[in-house]
């Protein structure tokens, strides 16, 4: 009961105070307890500073024995270095040792000069076991930064530098292609190229890819197991040649393919990526991604190597009812890192000539440019091409 200045009791004020207290208590209960859920870390050698973070939309929810973290927000970085930043990779950790506890977010096609700010969006779902940790639920660390000269810096715990380099080379290749169309055929030619790319992206057949649990497809009692011979698509300019490949399949489930390759170049060859394609009973070709396998530390000129990996995958074409059957597989070389640190990727004309353009996903840069075309038209694409291509 409160009294006003004249000593009279004030019931409306009392009710208002009670309502305010109740609202404050409800608000306190609604707020997540504990420290902020996200921490951002940058190694000293990386010339970036965190200018702002916004993870207000991040949600944490307990489900059974796990904490589901819907990480949604953005980080704004300020670039303090001399050379322009072309790509960035963030390592996002909630519980690195468990499925769903770690992710990497790569951002290609940046163009941040010294002193400029750039924002990186994140939308990642992670899992970690309960109880909730005393510190931040998620730690985000800059794993690698790629500069305009293709030099890089960062801890590189997730092989980020190599991946960013491959993407940047693909980006430059595809920007040159679209720019050449613009220079030779003008605006109409650029529009035609953009439309063709959008059609290709829309019509590309899709796979439902899932991890198929532990154990090989050859485990007893697994039914009809077949060994497929992989069709090998050879690029005559590639430093490695694919000699043979096989995969054990059971319906729509496949072990990781085993592929034998040889270094036919005069240089040491390091990390390589082999594109993995699957064909269904109708003869439609789908991209499954990259054939898994740990590469050798270095492949000597003339040396052979066989890829091996333990994962199994369920590969079902999207849109087909009932059980799917894998009828065939193919492989092609996507990238090779050579001993001098340079990276080889197939040319666009080679991909076209080998009939791969319609099956493999377009590069991240081509996807970005076509989205830009969809939203803002060919003039915006033209300006972007001129800005990013020396």
């Amino acid at each position: 009961m409160t009294l006003d200045l004249q000593g009279r009791t004030s019931r409306p004020l009392h009710r208002l105070a009670g309502a305010v207290l109740a609202a404050a208590a409800a608000l306190a209960q609604a707020q997540p307890s504990g420290p902020a859920p996200v921490a951002v870390e940058i190694a000293e050698e990386i010339p970036l500073q965190v200018a702002a973070t916004d993870f207000a939309d991040t949600e944490l929810e307990s489900r059974g024995g796990a904490l589901v973290i819907d990480l949604a927000g953005s980080i704004t970085f300020r670039h303090d270095g001399l050379e322009a930043v072309r790509a960035l990779t963030l390592a996002v950790d909630a519980h690195a040792g468990k499925l769903g506890g770690r992710a990497a977010v790569g951002v290609p096609s940046l163009h941040a000069r010294q002193g400029e700010l750039f924002e990186v969006h994140l939308n990642v779902r992670l899992l970690r076991p309960l109880p909730r940790p005393p510190g931040p639920a998620v730690r985000i660390a800059v794993d690698g930064v790629l500069f305009d000269s293709l030099a890089a810096v960062g801890p590189d715990r997730l092989d980020s530098v190599r991946k960013m380099t491959v993407r940047e080379l693909e980006a430059r290749r595809d920007r040159r292609y679209f720019l050449s169309r613009l220079d030779t055929g003008g605006r109409a030619a650029l529009v035609e190229a953009m439309q063709a790319s959008l059609r290709r992206q829309a019509e590309r057949p899709r796979l439902e890819v899932q991890l198929a649990g532990g154990g090989p497809a050859t485990a007893p009692g697994r039914g009809d197991i077949r060994e497929l011979q992989l069709a090998l698509v050879q690029d005559p300019h590639a430093p490695l040649v694919l000699e043979r490949g096989t995969a054990l399949v059971n319906g729509a489930v496949s072990d990781s393919p085993r592929i034998v390759l040889r270094n036919r170049s005069p240089h040491l060859a390091g990390h390589f990526e082999i594109g993995w394609l699957v064909r269904d009973a109708r003869g439609v070709l789908y991209s499954a991604g990259t054939a898994p396998g740990d590469p050798p530390p270095a492949l000597q000129p003339g040396e052979r190597f066989e890829t091996r990996a333990e994962q199994r995958f369920s590969l079902r074409p999207v849109g087909l009812g009932g059980a799917a059957e894998l009828a065939g597989m193919a492989a092609f070389l996507r990238s090779v890192q050579l001993g001098d640190g340079s990276v080889w990727i197939p040319s666009r004309s080679a991909l076209d000539g080998l009939g791969l353009l319609d099956a493999v996903p377009v590069s991240a840069e081509e996807q970005r440019l076509t989205q830009l075309y969809r939203e803002r038209g060919p003039d915006a694409v033209s300006a972007e091409l001129r800005k990013l291509t020396p």
């Binding site: 769903g100 198929a212 994962q311 991240a364 969809r374």
Partner: protein, 169 residues
């Protein structure tokens, strides 16, 4: 001829609430509403509706040039078709109807594009590691050389594309 006891029409009551009746009509309807609780209540409801409408967010400014461009892009994605004259007329009419429907949808809904994420590829391709539902519906994931799953997402507004890899231990 109007009887003395006749109520004003709903239209007249609504116009009174908005102050849009002529002088004589306003006098007549106001005089009636002063003696008729039912009509007085109706006028009060119309006044409340006007107040609530006024509190709504303003309609978005439509960039018709961009909208027209998007419609042309979408139409071109259908690829070349051979049509007869009759079909061509229906095709043009259908495109016009679709454009009108798109305009109506735009006015009815203002999406918050700041944080909107949609999978960067237009087709559905569901990817989920067994026992984990971290990948968004419609994400076109690909296997990586490490045996992980990666997918791309495109952020409207900023035009940024990100590539997320989920790590499998």
């Amino acid at each position: 001829m109007r009887s003395r006891s006749a109520h004003p029409t709903q239209r007249e009551l609504a116009l009174l609430a908005g102050g849009d009746l002529g002088r004589f009509a306003r006098w007549r309807v106001t005089r009636h509403a002063a003696r008729c609780p039912m009509c007085r209540s109706a006028v009060a409801s119309y006044v409340q509706d006007r107040r609530e409408l006024g509190a709504l967010a303003p309609l978005p400014v439509v960039d018709f040039a961009a909208l027209g461009h998007q419609i042309r892009v979408a139409a071109a994605q259908a690829g070349p078709r051979r049509v007869s004259h009759g079909r061509r007329r229906w095709g043009i009419a259908g495109a016009a109807l679709a454009a009108a429907a798109a305009l109506v949808a735009l006015f009815l809904q203002v999406p918050d594009t700041r944080r909107e994420v949609f999978p960067a590829t237009p087709r559905m391709g569901l990817l989920q590691p067994a026992g984990f539902a971290g990948l968004p519906a419609g994400a076109d994931a690909q296997v990586t050389a490490d045996g992980h799953l990666s997918f791309r997402a495109f952020y409207r507004g900023s035009g940024q594309l990100t590539i997320t890899e989920y790590y499998v231990p």
